[in-house]
Homo-oligomer: 321 residues x 2
């Protein structure tokens, strides 16, 4: 019988859990809305309760559990340092209480780093050696697989690709700096672009679509698809900027491929075409041919990523013992 | 007796060679001007001749030879793909003829990558695990040490940190893109900044210092040190932009430290002060405390880097056999 692990993905809107085998197959799964008014104790209890609801009965015990979560994570210490979108989730020791409750080794990982290892083990990055993964959603995250292993950096912070500066005179980022990739191309950034267009009266379709409320990135896409050229230009410019960011990182890292996941992929070729052009034009020498691959794990990237991290941690423990 | 290697650094102005031991001590050295009108055959002959001139006599034979060179290198294939500053140096198979002539295993490496491993083994990065090294000279190069080993990427191109985009509307870079780090802060970029100041009549001291000829980066520094505020502002802005570039890479890589080498370090705190401020303000969360260390190898970074690569290659061969 193949070994299994418990995996959880603790996102801004949903808390998902699953039993996953070594081939990346989901044997059982469940999800709940992310608790909105949470203390450290209630968050931990909610995670444990959801994990128990998917865990198989005695005799088929998973070998470990891993929780992927948004925000800064000290994976080695098992602590969430800062999860901006989840109230009360700050300097929270998470692995110790989860391990105690479930009686198996527990690990945590940043969700974008987990997604990178998930794509490498089970998805679009199978068989590659060096991988740069970008998660393109409300914010921009990233993860690195180097020499077939998740790369965490000195303090577990590696992969924060949303905070590379692309334009020092660009819009203010949530992190306090100006012109970060995330401030120029992300769900939040496209919503800002839409609001700016509307304020300037430059997008007649957008005014109709938003109909009096604040427009968001999805409205911008709908307007562009209906032929609004100003809306389309914003999305194409976002794709171009994304390509400059990813191309810069290709020049530094020279990965075998760049893999992409997240809701912004719904913008399709309007975003991805200019992204590919900018990336291959910026990437230096033979790196201009670096492949860009779309996620094969979709919404399950975080969940299967958590499982991939659990398996890698178990293998490392096996190697050390 | 300690093991030794032959090392060469093939730069734009000088060709240097040395015998180096496992502690990074230089036991013998020599140098010549880089040949200006060179064919593949004459370059190879010149390198072999210089290496022979430093090689010890029979009975104390070095175990391997490594040549560090500017430009794009396919280290695994032993080929220089492109060395823009050295005419005739293009798609040149280098390790095979050198190994045949000297009778020991021969390797090549990009000089900035070699410098990174040199600082890790023998210089400012000793004892660290993950290192980002930047060479700040006529151009901007870089190298990565990850998990205590030189990281080359998928095709040996990793570390091209001069070609991350910092400002898409910035000046044109030699690579064809706009606003690369190298186009904003490098020897070439500071010379451009000096020419622009002069053309605009904004720097009275610079006009005196350059005295009718084209001003360069050194003139800009002299003017700034003599109190020319426009010249100083250019250098401080360059430092700020450098900090944004290095801070971006710290967010992606989370290294234990950033090490710096190259002629621009001669600009001192006028460059490095704004660089440190921008880096630590941009770097995310606990990464804002990432150390910036100045090279301990100075002009020998490429040469000792080549030696470090030779020792790492020998160790790898030992592990595999």
């Amino acid at each position: 019988m193949t070994r299994t692990v418990l995996a959880a993905d603790f996102g801004g809107t949903h808390l998902r859990a699953a039993v996953v085998d070594e081939n990346g197959r989901v044997l059982a799964r469940d999800e709940r809305p992310t608790p909105t008014e949470a203390t450290a104790a209630s968050v931990t209890a909610e995670i444990v309760s959801l994990l128990r609801s998917v865990a198989p009965g005695p005799g088929a015990a998973p070998s470990a559990v891993c929780i992927a979560t948004a925000g800064l994570v000290d994976a080695d210490a098992g602590r969430v340092i800062l999860a901006p979108n989840i109230p009360g989730f700050r300097n929270l020791p998470l692995t110790e209480p989860v391990a105690a409750a479930l009686g198996i080794p527990a690990f945590i990982e940043n969700d974008a780093s987990a997604a990178a290892l998930g794509e490498f083990r089970f998805g679009a990055g199978r068989g590659l050696r060096h991988l740069l993964h970008a998660t393109l959603g409300t914010g921009i995250g990233g993860g690195l697989v180097i020499d077939r292993r998740l790369y965490r950096g000195a303090k577990g912070l590696a992969g924060e690709i949303g905070h590379i500066v692309i334009d020092p005179s660009g819009p203010r980022c949530n992190c306090g700096s100006r012109g970060c990739l995330e401030a120029l191309v992300s769900g939040v950034a496209f919503a800002q672009r839409a609001r700016r267009l509307l304020a300037k009266g430059k997008s007649p379709r957008l005014a109709v679509i938003a109909a009096g409320r604040e427009p968001n990135g999805r409205d911008l896409l709908v307007a562009a698809r209906e032929g609004d050229t100003a809306a389309e230009a914003e999305i194409r410019n976002g794709g171009h900027v994304l390509g400059l960011g990813l191309g810069s990182l290709v020049n530094v890292l020279n990965p075998d491929a760049v893999t992409l996941s997240g809701g912004l992929l719904g913008m399709g070729e309007m975003l991805l075409g200019p992204m590919r052009d900018a990336l291959s034009s910026l990437a230096y020498g033979p790196a201009s041919g670096t492949k860009v691959l779309l996620s094969e794990l979709g919404d399950d990237a975080g969940l299967l990523g958590a499982a991939a991290v659990a398996f890698e941690r178990l293998e490392d423990a096996g190697l050390r013992s």
